[in-house]
């Protein structure tokens, strides 16, 4: 299985007035062609920073890469130039975000914005392959139909505020897919939506993955939403990947104490729960992250080794990796 994306020992700091925040600490992750990977973690675990790294969207400063590589289709994205990025963003890798409204310009119609995105992609194509205006508009209509928006042709003339939250997120998905990317990064795509609308959008993403053979990285704090779409889940904590396993296996047999804690903290709609167990303590300050395993101050299993030695992400099987001394 050839990998589409391969992140190796990626370490990143954020330089601030207080000092350097050690935001990502040796990330190792890879993604095969057409694979769906969920990245789950709580606030400050670095999941969005990782996504932005893959898209080359991190401003530097404050971001500072310490080590590692992000190989995408045999190219190291950390060494990509501005011209490389123009050919990659939108056409090889695309991204959708949490709040669709902030990514749509309120004074332009949906059609203008979708067409702008498609027109911008023509620049990096050979002259003969470029689309003219009518073809761009036709392509825009096809894209809106692809994401199951009704009356696509008519919708092109509407303004973002005339659309509901769920429809706006579909428009953004259409824009993201208009350049036929191989990898779609979805950063909390349903967090701002209501449950019934979230279910629609998740079903759409799932359907697109199947039909277009897209590789997807879906980032969320909601384990349930990620599990509904992704075949594999990586759990992040304080800038490290602590566990990486197929979805069903991760949910049924979590191995890392943090993953176990996360699952135990989820309230369940079915059946009466007498108690709900949170994870004691709070996330560490990444200015002075804990020595050794970054989870040890909150971990029930922590011992002397955990406090001094950082556990590596070890293979338990072909597909299951975990970073804990006690597994």
């Amino acid at each position: 299985m050839s990998s589409l994306l391969d992140i190796r020992d990626y370490r990143l700091d954020f330089d601030t007035f207080d000092g350097a925040y050690k935001v990502l600490d040796g990330i190792d992750l890879s993604l095969a062609e057409g694979e769906t990977l969920g990245i789950v973690g709580e606030t400050g675990c670095g999941k969005s920073v990782l996504a932005k790294s893959i898209m080359g969207l991190l401003p530097s400063p404050p971001a500072r890469v310490l080590s590692g590589s992000i190989m995408f289709e045999e190219h190291d994205l950390l060494k990509a130039t501005a011209a490389d990025w123009r050919a990659i963003r939108g056409q090889r890798i695309a991204m959708i975000f949490q709040d669709p409204m902030t990514f749509l310009n309120p004074v332009l119609t949906i059609g203008q914005q979708v067409c702008d995105v498609i027109a911008a992609q023509q620049g990096s194509k050979p002259k003969a392959a470029r689309l003219d205006r009518a073809a761009i508009r036709a392509h825009a209509t096809r894209m809106l139909e692809l994401v199951r928006l009704p009356d696509a042709a008519e919708l092109l003339n509407r303004y973002p505020h005339q659309l509901s939250g769920g429809m706006r997120q579909r428009v953004l998905i259409a824009m993201a897919l208009s350049g036929s990317p191989r990898l779609l990064i979805a950063d909390e795509p349903t967090t701002a939506l209501d449950v019934t609308i979230q279910a629609q959008v998740l079903a759409l993403i799932d359907d697109l993955v199947q039909r277009l053979k897209l590789a997807v990285i879906m980032i969320s704090h909601d384990l349930g939403a990620v599990a509904a779409v992704c075949r594999r889940i990586a759990v992040m904590y304080a800038g490290t990947v602590v566990e990486d396993a197929p979805t069903a296996e991760l949910l049924a047999r979590p191995r890392h104490p943090y993953t176990k804690g996360l699952l135990a903290a989820l309230p369940d709609i079915e059946g009466d729960q007498a108690t709900l167990v949170g994870i004691a303590g709070s996330i560490p300050n990444l200015l002075t992250p804990p020595q050794g395993c970054r989870f040890h101050p909150r971990c029930p299993l922590a011992d002397a080794r955990c406090r001094s030695e950082k556990p590596l992400l070890r293979r338990l099987s072909d597909t299951h990796r975990v970073a804990c001394h006690h597994v």
């Binding site: 709580e42 606030t43 509901s164 769920g166 429809m167 209501d194 449950v195 019934t196 609308i197 979230q198 279910a199 629609q200 998740l202 079903a203 993403i205 799932d206 359907d207 704090h221 909601d222 384990l223 349930g224 939403a225 599990a227 509904a228 779409v229 979805t247 069903a248 949910l251 804690g261 996360l262 135990a264 903290a265 989820l266 309230p267 369940d268 709609i269 079915e270 009466d272 729960q273 108690t275 709900l276 167990v277 949170g278 994870i279 004691a280 709070s282 996330i283």
Partner: protein, 322 residues
């Protein structure tokens, strides 16, 4: 059976909004809601955005005036209270807001925030005030070393504990919790939820818990009311409503929760939530309802009717009326 601590009778809140330069529209944010909460009980209100659940909270706390209907607290009609009588009532009913980051004034220390109700209502000052604030911080498990810190130095969960300390400072009888954990991480949410459950026992509080998260309501509440576009569609004990949902909307809500192992898109509710200013005629849910087959659904508005003990549902296709 004892008297309810809080009773809402046909509570209605309409807003007038401008549409363009001249035209106005009426938004029926809350449209004839009747509810009651027994002493010591936890009542959940669930619904999606635009369901009016937060407006119910604001109206019953008299932070905004109802258009019609009555609010009875401990048997007393508080719908028209004002001035000092209303201020005195605030001792008995308090609220914890959804977003602890914006519910605390960034220029006030934790001490200022927790002390404010004690200063405003009891005129407390000096050492007795410091002692009370310290005890409240112990109650919500905040280290005393935080007392002179500013909100931006605390994590989300710690800030929410400050908000809870502030809300229980005056020993209220009713605590309204408006999505208190939806801005927090799951592991912190679990801490706060189990803490809220203990606190209810310890202080003998009555909760009105507003949330869009059904599982959270199931954990914390005894009864639940499901709201959609300003009205209650179903209410009853949590086990009955969530295990055997009767109203098509409740059924869709329960089915929409993503579950591992169940492919996304299983049992979808089509369409979008209509806006409260363009309310469909007839049953407010019929535009999205998979079962809206009765002719009455498009013309008449169903009212809550009992199905069995304490379980009510507003649907023509359910219950004895069907």
């Amino acid at each position: 059976m004892s008297e309810p601590l809080l009773r809402l009778e046909n509570l209605t809140k309409h807003y007038t909004v401008k549409r363009g330069s001249f035209a106005t529209a009426t938004v029926k944010a809350v449209d004839g809601v009747s509810l009651h909460v027994m002493p010591g009980e936890a009542l959940g209100i669930v619904g999606e955005s635009g369901s009016g659940k937060s407006t119910v909270a604001k109206v019953l706390l008299r932070l905004t005036d109802p258009t019609a209907g009555r609010i009875l607290f401990d048997g007393q009609d508080i719908t028209a209270l004002d001035g000092d009588a209303l201020r005195a009532l605030r001792r008995d009913m308090q609220i914890v807001f959804q977003n602890p980051h914006s519910a605390l004034n960034g220029r006030h220390t934790i001490f200022d925030a927790i002390a404010e109700p004690l200063v405003v209502q009891d005129g407390l000052r000096g050492q007795p005030l410091i002692d009370r604030v310290s005890r409240l911080m112990d109650l919500v498990s905040l280290p005393r070393s935080f007392i002179y810190r500013y909100p931006h130095e605390l994590s989300g969960g710690q800030k929410q504990r400050v908000c809870i300390a502030r809300a229980v400072a005056l020993k209220p009888r009713l605590l309204v919790l408006d999505e208190p954990t939806s801005a927090l991480d799951v592991s912190v949410q679990a801490q706060i939820l189990s803490f809220l459950k203990d606190l209810q026992q310890e202080l003998k509080l009555t909760y009105l818990f507003i949330s869009h998260n059904l599982a959270v309501v199931r954990y914390l509440c005894d009864r639940v009311a499901v709201m959609y576009l300003g009205a209650v569609l179903e209410q009853g004990p949590v086990a009955a409503v969530f295990d055997r949902p009767q109203h098509p909307y409740t059924q869709a809500l329960v089915a929409a929760i993503p579950k591992p192992g169940v492919p996304a898109g299983h049992s979808l509710l089509g369409g979008d939530i209509p806006t409260a200013s363009r309310m469909p005629p007839g049953c407010r849910f019929h535009t999205r309802c998979a079962e809206a087959m009765l002719p009455r659904c498009a013309t008449d508005s169903p009212v809550l009717a009992p199905l069995d003990a304490g379980h009510d549902c507003a649907c023509f296709a359910r219950g004895p009326a069907a």
